[in-house]
Each structure stands twice: as structure tokens, then as C-alpha cells.
Amino acid sequence: MQTLVVVAHPERVQSGTQEFLQASAAPFKTVQWHELEAPFEKEAEQRQLLTADRLILQFPLYWYSAPAMLYQWLDDVWTEKFAVRAGNLNGKQLGIVVTTGVADQAYHAGEREGFTLDEILRPFQALAHKTGMTYLPLFPITQFGYQTDAQKQRLLVAYQRYLTEPYPRHFADTEKWFAEQLAQLAADHPDYQLLLDQFTKNADELEQLNDTLQMMRQNEEND
């Protein structure tokens, strides 16, 4: 699966968050990083879109919306003919990584912002709907600067998984994702191999337990 991350950040150079995310994505060969810069070459941008199975739009939240440069790109590149009539985006996935300086809990009815991020970013869901794309759950990053080191470490891996893990997500896919990363680490560190072996064994056991449970539930229903 190929992933294209389209970054729309008017002050990209000063953004520590984007820097962190770019470094997190870097080890994955299947992830392409694309920072928007006007003017846009329509055909080249469209060709790049065609290569992706999963498209990520990544931007800071500006007045409950994306920065103007993202809309400029959409206007110039996502023509009606390309995106709708030719069905070029049909079957692809659309994910949104949105960064905001406001705390998570403010985005709820009755809280300070009054609306959820799902509601605020609804136009992107409509865009996915219109173009036949599968809309992924949002990936919000709130108050990056205030996060602890442990939170940032978890964010790094959660972001990598958002870019590369199959959707819809099942725990078995998550186990497989971690096993793949472990296998790479094991190449130059035998201790990782021991962990990988035990992890895989546990995953198999869980699968067997799950099968047993399904069978028991089935039998009880049939009684």
C-alpha cells in the first residue's frame, strides 16, 4: 500500500510538529512526503495522486478549517473531471491529520469550542464521499508542545500506523504491524528476535482462544 502525505502548512519551516511527523514517516519506503507550495502544476500533482492508495491531508487548523493553500490546491488539482467524472480517486482512502493548539477536550458540545473535530472537518468527509474515497477516522494532534516525552513516543508510533496500517483496523493487523517492525529491528539485534518469537506465539495463542470462544458461542446459540 502506497501512502501520500500532503502537507499544507504556511509556516512549515517553523513547525516543530511537522518536523517530528516527517522524521516519524521517513523510515517507511511506502510513504511519500509532499509539501505544498504554490503555484501547482496540475498534471504533475494529479499524477502523484494516482500513485497513492491512501492519501493523507495534513494541516494546522486555521479558523476551524484548513489553510488557504490547501483549498487552492484542491481548486487547481481536484478538477471535477479528474476527481469525479474520471473516477480517479475512487476506492482510495482519505485520512486527515490535523494539528491544533487547543486541548482535545475543548472540542465537544458544551465545551469551550462547542463542536467536535469530526463536525468541524465534515467538508472533507463530503469530499471523500463525492469522490468515492473511504474516509478514515481523524488523526488529531492537539497541543503537541505540551506533550510529555512518553506521549510523544506514543504519538510517533500511532502516526506511523495511521500512515501504513490496514483499515479497517483489527487487533490482528496491529499485531502484524508490530511484528513486521520487530523483524526489521531483529536483523541487527538478536534480543529483538526473542521478543518477536514470543510475540508471534502469543498472537497465535490469542487467535486460537478466539476460535475456541467463537465455537462455544456458536454451540450455545444452536442449543
Binding site: F178, N202, L206
Partner: protein, 59 residues
């Protein structure tokens, strides 16, 4: 909890202590969470299997 889960968490903590690369330490933090989730699911499923097998209304 199964002993192997405890062993894994110890291994992870040890690797993390000696790991200079930030990205690998981050991976190990997230991996520890997944191993904990495995252990939780194992306990829950085993519990449900035992519970169903010992359901006295079905004796």
C-alpha cells in the same frame, strides 16, 4: 497473567534502557502497550471460556 508477558515487559524495559535511538525507544514504548493489550485479551478470553465451560445451568 502468564509469565511470558512479564518476561516480555522486562525485556522491553531493558532494551529501552540501552537503546540510544529515539525512534526505537518510541517503538518499544508503543510495543509495551500492545503486549499489555495482548495479555489483557488473553485473560479476558480465557476467563470467558472458563465461565462458559463452568456454567452450572448447562450441567
Amino acid at each position: 497473567m502468564d509469565n511470558n508477558y512479564e518476561w516480555m515487559q522486562q525485556q522491553i524495559a531493558q532494551l529501552q534502557e540501552n537503546e540510544p535511538a529515539y525512534e526505537k525507544r518510541a517503538f518499544l514504548t508503543a510495543f509495551a502497550d500492545v503486549v499489555a493489550e495482548q495479555a489483557k485479551r488473553q485473560t479476558q478470553m480465557q476467563g470467558e471460556i472458563d465461565g462458559r465451560a463452568w456454567d452450572h445451568t448447562r450441567w
